[in-house]
Amino acid sequence: MGERMNGLIPPVVFGVAFLAVWELAVVGFGIQEFLLPKPSSILEAIGADWSVLSEAAIQTGIIAVSGLVIGVVIGALLALLVTRFGRIGEAATPLAVALNATPIVALAPIFNAWFGITSFRSNQAVVVAVVFFPVFINTARGLLEVHPDQLELMRSYAAGEWSILRRVKIPNALPFFLTSLRLAAPLSVIAAIVAEYFGGPQNRLGPVITQNASVARYDSAWAAIVMASILGLVLFWLAAALERLVPWTQTGGEG
């Protein structure tokens, strides 16, 4: 317990020092608040706009988390399917790689046309598309990269395909899956906010940032950005905590 506390000291000290330097720099160099507000001004704006900001963060959070869950489920299921039937995998891999090279957020206006510009569905679709790929690729790798000796062992026990999947391939893929979840969790918040810039309901962090920036209320825009990064951090921490619950992830997969 003491060690964990000790581990927290350096980042806390660094963070406080960083904010102090920021504050002093803005004051000392006379930087205009519309270019870069002081941390204290941002904090003030968070307090003043709390009801709008907290509602926006919750709404954006719902989009990010629901999109994350849908994308993760699709990615994992597709990985299972593709690795189970090798032919599909060979046929689908080039397409998947091409899709991954597409900047998904570029599709946001298209999704608006598909799902309606005021619908949350188009934002959610961007999150799903962004999250899907890392989960799919990592999980598929985990399912395929089983040590050949372990597969031979299972065959020597006369184990069937289903038994091998359940007892070897899925547990082997779990660390890979959880690593991809840790990558995908903060991505989901980024994807949600960028998608919100292009459309969807207005009571979200994305529109709050653009609206405040357009009327030069930069402290409020920064306040919304702070809320967004807190949201991303919370999701990252949750995913990292999930990863730590599984004891063999410390050795298996790629930390």
Binding site: H147, D149, Q150, E152, L153, M154, R155, S156, Y157, A158, A159, S163, R167, V168, P171, N172, L174, V246, P247, W248, Q250, T251, G252
Partner: protein, 282 residues
């Protein structure tokens, strides 16, 4: 051994060709005939690429030979595998990271449909056999290489197969641990009376463990010589350290010299002279 007793393993005229007909065709095994009697400890030795691991996998029905037949306890190799007639151990212990030691040992039993109490009783028994009673609840990565290998052996023996197939199981261990594991394996072997086929490229290891050493030549893998091993009376002790006395015997040096000579003649390309060809010939 009387003729009426079904041998543990009969390999009859086995050829194994990979990528047949294509440019990178590899003849891994050619005209292999071997009979292993029940209770025998037979080592397969040869330069790398001689097909000794392939031969082990053909016996275990993990590879299907291109020609010839394999019988294990009088059954076709495929039925023997389906009936779980043999246990297997590799150079990599091949333990499952997500299972604790006891659960690793219980895995083949679980697949075989054993009840939970039976599985637990057997894994306790097996842990006692390999002297790891205190490590049932450890994860594999918390154990040393030698301990992991002992768990792998316990797992291979958990369903009491009459045949144990081992592919360089001690190859990754340091010399001290390796000798200790060899003595442990001999102790377990004499306690259970299991038939063992053991792939190695260590001459002293083959001589120390085996009743017979089969020397293979590479490309294509053929039986080059068979050396019968006689090290004199066994050491009557369950203490592994005392069993090391055998390694100091004159007969041990004579036998290693014979096996070495057979391996040398493989490299020189001359026909093997050492040993009794009677068992190898079909």
């Amino acid at each position: 051994m009387m003729g009426e007793v079904t041998p543990a393993v009969t390999v009859d005229g086995v050829d194994m060709v990979f990528n047949a007909g294509s440019e990178n065709e590899v003849v891994a095994l050619r005209e292999i005939d071997v009979t292993v009697q029940r209770g025998e400890f037979v080592s397969l030795i040869g330069p790398s690429g001689c097909g000794k691991s392939t031969m082990l996998r053909v016996i275990g029905d993990l590879l299907q030979p291109t020609a010839g037949s394999v019988e294990v306890f009088g059954q076709a190799a495929s039925s023997a595998r389906q009936n779980r007639s043999y246990g297997m151990a590799f150079q990599s212990a091949g333990l499952f990271d997500w299972r604790k030691v006891a659960a690793n040992i219980e895995l083949p039993l679980e697949i075989g449909g054993w009840s939970k109490p039976d599985r637990e009783a057997r894994s306790r028994e097996m842990l006692k056999l390999v002297r790891l009673e205190d490590f049932a609840d450890h994860y594999p990565w918390q154990l040393s290489g030698g301990m992991q290998q002992r768990v792998a052996i316990a797992r291979a023996l958990s369903f009491q197969p009459d045949l144990l197939l081992m592919d360089e199981p001690f190859g990754a261990l340091d010399e001290m641990t390796r000798e200790y594991m060899q003595s442990e394996l001999l102790r377990i072997y004499s306690e259970l009376g299991t038939t063992v086929i053991f792939v190695t490229h260590s001459i002293p290891e083959a001589v120390y463990l085996s009743n017979r050493v089969v020397v293979l030549s590479p490309r294509p893998g053929r039986i080059h010589a068979v050396v019968d091993i006689d090290l004199g009376p066994p050491v009557e002790s369950t203490d592994s350290a005392k069993a090391d006395e055998i390694r100091e015997r004159e007969s041990f040096f004579e036998m290693t010299t014979q096996v070495r000579a057979a391996l040398r003649s493989v490299e020189a390309g001359t026909p093997g002279r050492a040993g009794s060809p009677g068992v190898a010939d079909g």
